[in-house]
Every structure is written in C-alpha cells, then in structure tokens.
Symmetry: C2
Subunit: 148 residues, 2 copies
Amino acid sequence: MQNSEAMALSAALLAVAGGLTQRINEGVIARGFDGVRPAHGFAFTRLAPDGATVTDLAVHLGMTKQAASQLVDELVRKGYAERRPHPRDARARLVVMTERGWACTRAAEEVAAEAVREWTDLLGEREVRTLAEQLLRIAPRGPVRPAW
Amino acid sequence: MQNSEAMALSAALLAVAGGLTQRINEGVIARGFDGVRPAHGFAFTRLAPDGATVTDLAVHLGMTKQAASQLVDELVRKGYAERRPHPRDARARLVVMTERGWACTRAAEEVAAEAVREWTDLLGEREVRTLAEQLLRIAPRGPVRPAW
DNA sequence: ACCATATAGTCAAGCAGCTTGACCATCACG
DNA sequence: CGTGATGGTCAAGCTGCTTGACTATATGGT
C-alpha cells in the first residue's frame, strides 16, 4: 500500500473522529448539558461505573494530576460529579458521578447512537458492525492521550 | 443497534484516531522535525499543493484567522512555510511550504504508512482497504474542527 | 469615476486549560 | 516507628486560542 493511500485512510479516520467528537459535544449541549467539553466525556467513561481517583483520571486522560484535579473541580461546580472520601485510603478521594452526570452520559450515548445510525444508513448494519470490530482490533491498548 | 454498541464503536474510533495522531506526531519529531504539533499537519494538508491564504487555513482548521495567522508565524519562524505576495490580490498573502515543510509532510506520510502497515498485519490488506473506503464514505464534508 | 461596503490581514489584550514546582497528609514497608 | 512513596492541592506561569480594533485593498452599485 502506498504512502498516499495511508494518508487518505488517516485523513478519513481523523475527519470521522473529529466530526463525531464535535457532534456528540454539540448534541449533548443541545440537550441542556451546557458547559461540557469533550474531555468531560472521556472523564465520565473512567468515572463510570464505580468512580475513580484524581490520579486514575489523570492517567486515563493523559494529563497531570493537577490538571485532572482542576477538571474535577469544574465537574463538581457544574453538578456532574462529587468528591467522596475514599473507603480504604484516607489520602485519596473517590470522584463519583451525580445523577446529572449519569443523565449527561446517557445523552452522549443517544447522540452517538444517532450518528452511528446514519452510518448504518450509508453502509448497512453488517458493514458498521465489521467496522466496529476492526477498529476494536487495531485500537491501541492502555491510556491514549485523547488529544481533545 | 444498541446505544452501548454505538458507544463501543465511538470509543474505539476515538482511541484509534487519538493513537494515530499521537504516533504520527511523535514519529515526525523523532525524525528531526522538532516543535511540530498535530495542528501543523492539518495546516500542511491545506497548504499543499498550491499554498493557501491565512483565511483559507482558518476555515480549514476551524479557528479564527488571527489564530491561523499566529500559527503561520510559527511555521515561518520554524522554517516550514513562508509568506509570498498573492498573485491576484494585494491584500492577501499566499502561504506556501518550504522544502523543509515538504520534507516534514513526507516524514508524516512515512509514519502514517508504518502505522497502517501494522493494521494490515492485524486485519489483512483487503480489510484495511475496505476500512478506508467505509471511513471515506462516512467522513463529514466541509471543514471539520480537528479538535486537537 | 466615486463612494460604500466587504474582505484579507495584523496588532493587542484577555482567557482557558494545561504545565511545573512546592507542599502537606497519609500509606506501606524495612 | 521512621523513611521513602503516593494522593491531592495550592500557586504561578505558559501556550494557543479568543474577541475587539484597526489598516489596506478589493468589489460593486450608481
């Protein structure tokens, strides 16, 4: 395969990913969850289902724990999460989602499902399913810097 | 298709895209092009092959023209691009890539091709080709905010 | 030919989100 | 039980973006 084909694939991949990110973010905001950024969604995926510490979040999001702590401040201030004492470590705090946080993630799921449905219209359900399988197989393991 | 499947697909897509972005950036830096950011790569794709104005770049990158102008300042300072007078509009300036800029894009192509080759090892060439075709078909048209 | 408006670009100031550095409280282990 | 490691926060600074204001040139109606 030629370099130019690799670039076309890469460009398409990044365009689809960027468009999806943008669309989910806008859709969630349109459903009344204002002030959310894509990074919050990535945080939610780590917070669910059992909560996480600030350090966990920092690793997951590929940022310093100070930045993660500031992000949690923001989530708490906006009512999406809260800090609870950690059951087994008095130094740590367990960050958990509030009901509003859960509602926000459900909204994000709905918007994502809507986008995927359009892809199904274009490609067919079978193709979308294989697309998902292939992406899962080539997805890097471990914490990936979300980069948005 | 259920919402959870849509989220799995979305997460995989974003993980692959984030990993690819990170990898290309690191690979390009490792080849001696220091100080480049992913946004520069997106700028390069618009600059090639005939150059572009600052306003073109701003639309392409989904940012204000002031930000695009600052980005061009940076590219010029680092030797990747230069400003030339626009042939048909005395207000505008044509931003074109230098030889170093071209070398940098070739390096990015090599790194991307390397990543795609690994996907081919995992999925097979035929599957990667259909993956590319499917992504091209669902890629949003027009300027997409790169989001990194 | 002229003027009104639109467009290309820059300068300047401000801000959001991240970083680095320093620090305290608590844990884990010799 | 003390010593280094770990979880978290505070404070300051930086980078890349934004908004606002401005100049120079182009465009189009009269």
